[in-house]
Point group: C2
Chain length 357, copies 2
């Protein structure tokens, strides 16, 4: 087995400190299991704007393209918020998704029994929740053209374009069916077919692809209803597949429902090339550099990387088990600790996970 090359993009805010702990987990995995990981660092987001004049330097794109997987911390912060679009940290994130063709964003939404009380939802509603949200990542309103302002006789008019090709819709739905087949065999496809033309095509293609997966139950759900059902009864969901913007909104809603937003990882996959792994939380500039951030979502993103990009399912499970064990033992970072409960630092939490490994 050869060396695996991993691009590490720590980014902004708490990005560097949480990425550091995740990298140490990777290094320990390499040592214990006899793998070789070649970790190469790159810049993205605000720090890249400051140091290279662009949120996504060409060199970072090249680095990612030449890697087997990408680990990303987080991007963004108030410092760069007022800049023009091409100098915003998010533009770097959107850019790398597009540049390496990451069309599928996987967000497993699970509830950790020992954290269930942190949610604003009642524990009996949450127990056993295990949802995989599959968000289309390169189409829809995010990249559609035309977009922008136009001066008319009656003032400024602005448009964004929600655009999909048949091909883009089919490949994400097919992946949805594949993932559902490997799980509880229920696929909820979320759209707004009573209003959007794109949703009507989406629904037709879903019906068509469904014929190849007679063992998977397909349910169509309108996005407004889905936003309700996630609150009413999140346990009804197995795999939820949807377009880019709906996925952005629903996956964050679903994440918050678990009460453990600092715990949730994500994987972004393309049809070829590396996958990108990142926590779903943001760069939390208010606590950056204080060694109090929760590194577990980033560590769990490493587990997803081991599983989806490096073909190391055993290692992935070992990381996930270690995180669970640490939580079950009562260890908490500040975001998870109850009032008066002692809290570990970012580095201490990383140490605990490595000890459990």
């Amino acid at each position: 087995e050869g060396v695996k090359r991993i691009a590490v993009l720590p980014g902004d805010g708490i990005g560097p400190e949480i990425t550091r702990e995740a990298v140490r987990v990777l290094e320990l995995i390499a040592e214990v299991r006899g793998h070789r990981f070649d970790l190469v660092y790159g810049k993205i987001g605000g720090i890249a704007v400051d140091e290279e004049g662009t949120p996504l330097p060409d060199e970072t794109v090249r680095l990612c393209r030449e890697s087997d997987a990408v680990l990303l911390g987080a991007v963004g912060g108030p410092k760069w918020d007022k800049g023009p679009t091409h100098l915003r940290p998010e533009t770097g994130l959107l850019g790398i998704r597009k540049a390496i063709g990451l069309y599928a964003n996987l967000r497993p939404i699970t509830v950790f029994p020992s954290l269930i009380h942190a949610s604003t939802l009642k524990p009996d509603v949450l127990a056993g929740v295990d949802i995989l949200i599959l968000r289309e990542l390169t189409g829809g309103l995010y990249f559609g053209q035309p977009r922008g302002r136009r001066q008319t006789a009656d003032g400024v008019e602005v448009v964004d374009t929600l655009q999909y090709s048949e091909h883009e819709i089919r490949r994400i739905l097919r992946l949805g069916f594949e993932l559902a087949r490997a799980r509880r065999k229920r696929l909820v496809s979320v759209d707004k077919a009573n209003v959007l033309e794109s949703s009507r095509l989406w629904r037709e293609i879903a019906e068509e692809v469904a014929r190849d997966y007679p063992d998977v139950e397909l349910v169509h759900m309108l996005v407004d209803n889905a936003a309700m059902q996630l609150v009413r009864n999140p346990r009804q969901f197995d795999v939820l597949v949807t377009e880019n913007m709906f996925g952005d909104i629903l996956s964050d809603e679903a994440a918050m429902i678990t009460g453990s937003i600092g715990m949730l990882p994500s994987a972004s996959l393309g049809s070829e090339g590396p996958g990108l792994y990142e926590p779903i939380h943001g760069s939390a500039p208010d606590i950056a550099g204080q060694n109090v951030a929760n590194p577990l979502a980033t560590i769990l993103s490493v587990a997803l990387m081991l599983r989806h990009s490096l073909g190391m399912e055993d290692e992935a499970r070992a990381v996930e088990a270690a995180v669970r064990a640490v939580l079950d033992a009562g260890h908490r970072t500040r975001d998870l600790a109850g009032p008066g409960e002692p809290a570990l630092t970012t580095a201490e939490m990383g140490d605990k996970v490595r000890a459990a490994l």
Copy 2:
């Protein structure tokens, strides 16, 4: 004082039975307070498709235009779901919004203390929640052009267009500030300014309008974050203003959080012409005609009508107080009753409210 003309559009599913109870409340108000309401019935939605061949007959549009206010039950059902767009019940609803220029959808999200336990959220998170969601109703992805499919060399491509004029954005934001000024003076403007051009214009105009309302605090929030914050801490919101599709999703999420989706009314207002009042729940075809539906959201929609279109604030409060009294006395329709608890029929619930009036 003259006669007020009210268009009544019962629609489909449970629409007719819940509308009947609301109309009886209106009739009682007229009798007790010495008003004259001229109620004229019209067709919309599936029933209009069946009987007139269109979900929005010209006569219904004319009737609404000539009225002081419109009371709508609900539209839609599986019977009409597979039809072409121009024969779908929702097309009637979208059509009447457009035809009478209803640009502002107001959805008050309140928690009834006696129903707080019906929510999947913990009672201490919900206590005191009082949000007014203000959704832009005639722009965005709902009516923007172009929309539809195009055949390309690589297969079908589909677009929808998210479109706003400066004027549309300004008038909804201005209303948001006005409403916030009359309440707790906090306006959360929800957008996706890190991705959408339309959101960037929205944010600029919000800043501009804010200068006329120095007494109102303006907070910008990204839509994915808003979807989280509604779950995390709904009490932080006073007035939430947003574009059409975001409002569709967030208002349903917020409604479900209260646990009382059968209780929530809405008002849709234009700059002139009648307002339209309807419950936010759907036509519930599965229980239609069984006299078990909850009429309270429709009755509370009548309260909004009295307030916003008929200038009868006292009467509006009397209706709201009557509904609260009925709930506090323990009366429940089937959707609200706990397991084993007795449930009133639709008509009995209407009687209770009228008795309390």
